[in-house]
Amino acid sequence: MGNLQKSEPSLGFVIPVYSSVITLLIIVMTCVELCDAVTVVDVYRLVQYDVGGMPFGSRLAALNHHAGSAVLSSGAADLSRTVLILPVRELNLTFIRESIGWRKPLGGLLLLLPLDFSPQDTENIGEADHSSAKQLVKEVLVELEQLLIHANIPYPVYFGFEDDDVNSVLADVKRNDATGQLATATTGGYKLVVAAPEPKKIASPTISNTQGWLPGLKADGGSNQLPTIAIVASYDTFGAAPALSVGSDSSGSGVVAVLEIARLFSILYSNPKTRGRYNLLFGMTSGGPYNYNGTQKWLHSLDQRFRETIDYAVCLNSIGSSSNELWMHVSKPPENAYIKQIFEGFSNVAEELGLKVGLKHKKINISNPRVAWEHEQFSRLRVTALTVSELSVAPELLESTGGLSDKRQFVDEASISRSVKLVAESLARHIYGLEGKTIDIFADNSSLAVNPSYIRSWLDLLSATPRVAPFLSKNDPLIMALKKELTDHTVEVNVQQEVLDGIFTFYDSTSSRLHIYQVASVTFDLLLLLGLGSYLIVLFSFLVITTRGLDDLISLFRRPPSRKMKTA
């Protein structure tokens, strides 16, 4: 009796203790994050877009397959449930061309870029790097990019970087593949998982054009009657990986040049004594890769009478490579007197700077929607314009638009400084009527010298900012920064927001995190189960034998027959 009474209170507090322990366990379970992967890396997806309804790029984002390496690509194995990890340095382009061309089924593709192409790599060097290995990688990347963006790929394609974790995983995968066995659920290996939702269309992507206005010295009439010179560059990029398209040369160099020229002329124009009799219009347009759509919309938004006062427009395309040769592209025939005059002015200054400027003429075809150079949008509205660029041949659609290979290390800031001086000097001599005279307005070591650190800091900033227009919001920090910078140098700044033309449609999900898991095969689990089962059975038999005797063990198996005998 006493025993029973004493045991009740002890049972009384058992239940609350147990329940609190269980609730604690539940809380622990829900709070802990299941992030137990071998490696988690940032990866960037291949662009997905439609042109007039035709799909291009990688159409899927979610990834959940086993990893394979380049060793498997040569065999005839079924790779539809395998993700191939291919470093770009050792890439076999014919394999990629074949798998895309013949529509070979593949679980996914992970392309590894060298670490120095990473946006976090801050070892930026002043001069362009010309090592042959890097040039080779650059060429491979250019070709790879063109291949990927013009293909319709039904599986996810991601770009990553060769950091230590990924390299060790790849070495492991290569070793496993060398045995000839494909990594599947039954054999174990590495599993690559990207948990991304289905990519959605970006509805009405906006493009923002920024313009800055420096009025010239009024004569007796208003400043509206003064002629205007426009200096324009397009700031957005397009590439195979939109989250990595920083476009240092294609458009980055142009933007930096426009900002520097604006700064120099703002110093000149701040003093009425040195203000020229020309208005200056600085423009940063968007929509460059898409047939200069933004420039067209911007020009249409300008008042027609104002457009007629534009004397000529200078558009700046890539000017960052370290060659000494620049090209002036025009659409009016070179025999035109005005073009001749402008070109002569540029050539004179170029000679003094040690540069060589050539003239290239390309007729515009109004019926062809393809606009290869920015000045063609001006020419279609009968404004004289020219493009200064290092490229001698007009690029095709979505070519040379600042993609994967266009990184900071390949841009020479000294070349940008020289080009800035060329354009600024030629413009200034035209504005102040000093053509033919040997006078150095923006002389080095003067207060009007081209500032290399200004160029470098803006180039570094632009080289760290991906600028694909549909992915830039209306109030993106970069657009705000450009607006603020132009406000510092010019008198009137306007930002115009437009919607990108309907034939281009873009899809989101440009970057994700990749989880790499090391998984054991099902056979391993089954073997373990077998081992544990036999261990428990052995333990059971051992304990029965030692504590109850061998007879008891045998009687466990003989009980049913003995019962039958009893009832019988």
Binding site: V28, V519, L543
Partner: protein
Amino acid sequence: MTLFHFFNCAILTFGPHAVYYSATPLSEYDTLGTSIKAAVVYLITALVKLVCLATFLNVSETDSFDPYQELLKALIGFIDVAGLYFALTQLTHRNISQCHKFQAVGLGWAFADSVLHRLAPLWVGARGLEFTWDYIFQGLEANANLVLSLSLAALGSLMWLRKNKPKTLIPIIYACAGIVATMPSITSYLRQGLGWHLPKIVGFELFTSLGMAFISWQLFAACQRPSN
């Protein structure tokens, strides 16, 4: 097949307890109540130890072996022994022989230890896609812990429940009990001070637990002979 792996590790960690209960005469004498009471006593002991550790121990930033802290932890570890004493002596059980009592108490103690220390990591970790050997080693550790708990319970029952012990064996009994009680401190010293890896530590634990079990079995048998 990650739930599969969780299932495997769970039967490795908790299976032996169930097997022990069903294989030995414990199940025939229905000593489940005793085991549950021992488990509850273990819970309370664990809470008391936690409070003492939080109050008296200061957390060191480095992972090094600090003798003073380890001594303090060992002293707090003796609260374990006090709890076991309480479970063995103070809880009134139905009339079961001493032989079965210590087994039931040891089993309940070890089961509560496994559940408290190993169930949550197992549930959270073993279900993930990533495969590690950690949970299998944890299961082996649980097995070693079971054997150690049984030996400690046996030695404890010898010390506190058996009145007539041969004089020569008393110091050996106390010495063995001391070794088994300080086993956690020894393993933490091996892990942090000497830097042993998990497989080595688990092997050491299994070996020593089997050794101590054998010794305590011999002692128990030796103490039982005079009463026969």
